[in-house]
Symmetry: C2
Subunit: 468 residues, 2 copies
Amino acid sequence: MSDQFTLSAAVLQTLRDIVGEDKVRLDAESLDTYGKDWTKVHVPKPSAIVFPKTVEQVQAIVRLANEHELALVPSGGRTGLSGGAVAAYGEIVVAFDAMNQISDFNPVDRSVVCQAGVITEQLQQFAQEQGLFYPVDFASSGSSQIGGNIGTNAGGIKVIKYGMTREWVAGLKIVTGSGDILDLNNGLAKNNAGYDLRQLFIGAEGTLGFVVEATMRLTRQPSNLTALVLGVPEFSAIMDVLNTFQSDMDLTAFEFFSEKALEKVVTHNDLRRPFETKAEYYALLEFENTHEDTESLAMTLFERCVEEGWVLDGTMSQSIDQLKNLWRLREDISETISQWTPYKNDLSTVVSRVPGFLQEIETIVNKNYPDFEIIWFGHIGDGNVHLNILKPDELDKEIFLEQCNRVSRWIFEIVEKYRGSVSAEHGVGLLKKSYLPYSRSHTEIALMKQVKQVFDPKGIMNPGKIFD
Amino acid sequence: MSDQFTLSAAVLQTLRDIVGEDKVRLDAESLDTYGKDWTKVHVPKPSAIVFPKTVEQVQAIVRLANEHELALVPSGGRTGLSGGAVAAYGEIVVAFDAMNQISDFNPVDRSVVCQAGVITEQLQQFAQEQGLFYPVDFASSGSSQIGGNIGTNAGGIKVIKYGMTREWVAGLKIVTGSGDILDLNNGLAKNNAGYDLRQLFIGAEGTLGFVVEATMRLTRQPSNLTALVLGVPEFSAIMDVLNTFQSDMDLTAFEFFSEKALEKVVTHNDLRRPFETKAEYYALLEFENTHEDTESLAMTLFERCVEEGWVLDGTMSQSIDQLKNLWRLREDISETISQWTPYKNDLSTVVSRVPGFLQEIETIVNKNYPDFEIIWFGHIGDGNVHLNILKPDELDKEIFLEQCNRVSRWIFEIVEKYRGSVSAEHGVGLLKKSYLPYSRSHTEIALMKQVKQVFDPKGIMNPGKIFD
């Protein structure tokens, strides 16, 4: 670590006075661990890691940072895929690990107060123990934290039914960049008393203020979740299948993955194919199987899709174990392909335009880099697709990344043409910020910067993330 | 109209050049009609009414207003209850009546593009014609406009299932106070690319910019909606009933009203009591009656509530006509009591705290003004209650209002104590702005003003609404 990233003795002492001697870490391992997220593109170089335990300690840290114009980076589970929690420029990392209490559960309001460092799975389990359900779920829910979920408006696999994290935040306690504490919305279901500032902090990646506490809504547990995996020969038919099912029943999920993805998952995990028939694509549907006629309706719709030629084969889970195994076909993809150093993009457009969108992207990648293998999967019911380009074994990593960066420009031009998003659910962080103008106008970006100025006048809150 | 509210000939000519000669009105009737909303507290005194037909015309009007620092008031259906669309200080009213086109319906995305002046009922009917459903509904949906719904984040009777207007806005075209056009979110379901500025304009009552167009989401039509009206002897038992039903089934509505409200509605309309038994309160529940066992579940829960003593009697609709008639018991209250010059408050707290909240308010009103009759009704499933204080016949209107203003302070102190909202769904406008500090901190209000400064630097967009 170079000297420029060393804090003065006075600042360090004040930090220790605020959080306690043992809650300020400077050791190399901590600096490395807490300075990066899952992206691993930037070299972590924080100046210190602090672990506040209370809202007041966070406030004191922000005030100190204001006084000395020191940059702060919030740190949750660091499972982000856009570099939103990376500290590569001597920032002080404010890690929320020690603020992990759940309190004030109210069964009538179906709400619960979480400190920012509560792990997503911890909240899911807590809800289950109360006979309720916290529906935002994704592969990294075992380590991601609520504060980070809110900062990135996390999505996941149940958005088609339950929406993003935004829908579940009934109240928000924030320490702004000025060091003010805001108590936003107080857990109310209805509140049209002035601007809903809460919404602004959701998805702002900690650039306006830090989430220190949230009142999260819970809901009824779904009953008898049942999954269908269908083999689909053509991409456009996935949309026909979606339309067919969605018109007649409420789905809790509608995911897709390609044969290439499935082949890798079953080869590298202890998993069986859903059925022998191979198809170019697979759709995974999930619904609450509450009545006999729900199941027979699902069968009728499945048969209609087969008759139309949209579906080649299919299987339906008959138990929780089968449900879990079908889900693994989709959920294990990301980890399975990580050994090929995938170049990831998290894109979206409106659902109806997804087929053309995918086609254009495939065409341009194949034309320019015929050796690159493309793995598609994602939340097709929401128009959100994850594009993964795998590194050919023989290709040097640096050269591969360079070529991918070139490809990215072309992909994002297609995103722009389709009026889509350069980051559907992963946020912008450091990795996507140069691509932001493909999704947002210069006027919008200029306004965002002015909004940041209002809440963080010294520019100390996660600086350099989203925009410069 | 005093001279100070007369526009210069040059400005008038430019307005006529922008929208056309016949789209600028200065006649007394138009000024009166378009200068007020349903509140009728302020004397309307706009300087002109303009009827743009295109986004570009709205932009040109805003730019002209910027140049001359002229205040603009957006005007939709003017059904607001907080004075948000009142022009009492010589403002130019921008009426969206001529921008009432629905276009670009997409059945796969279940989305449709509405100009700001599309009437809520027009959108509801359009959705129905497509076999779909636009779920935001309330008493004034026959005249309120989508732009106004978005500006006030309209709620209504189905929020417990479908949420507020906010949930249904997939894209927003805005003309900001600076005259910039923003295209926000492009109809995407998932988009975490930078701050979600769209959210900021929803519920901002036109103070940051004007909504000129919106991409609205539609959903599946509910099937076989069925209502239960239950007689409940004590207020706290309403919460037990809510809890009992909500734990086991999905409700599409959970409303309540008092015996006093029911008595007035059946006396003044051609309506019958739901059943002979009188109760202090009534709960109206609605659900999708899709299966035989749904109905028998509802009956079982009803019986449980009777056994517990929470419910005295009940009735369930057996046809669409019966459903409509049961709903009229609740929906006709507002119009029925209008003859008593009701002093209205639209309050909320978290659901679990509503009983104590109501009790404290009743106590303070009864203690100080024993002659005042209080009519309670509202969306109890969301913690949102409408408090209506009726004017005693013999009391002078001015004196009544003066006394109510005194009562308001006490009520809002209770709101503050319960961390509730001074305006759950009606917005702040002119009428509630002095009460805003009971729901929002001084820091929040200061931040709101700074946010307005970003989007409306000259302060010309609906000035004086929400805050000064």
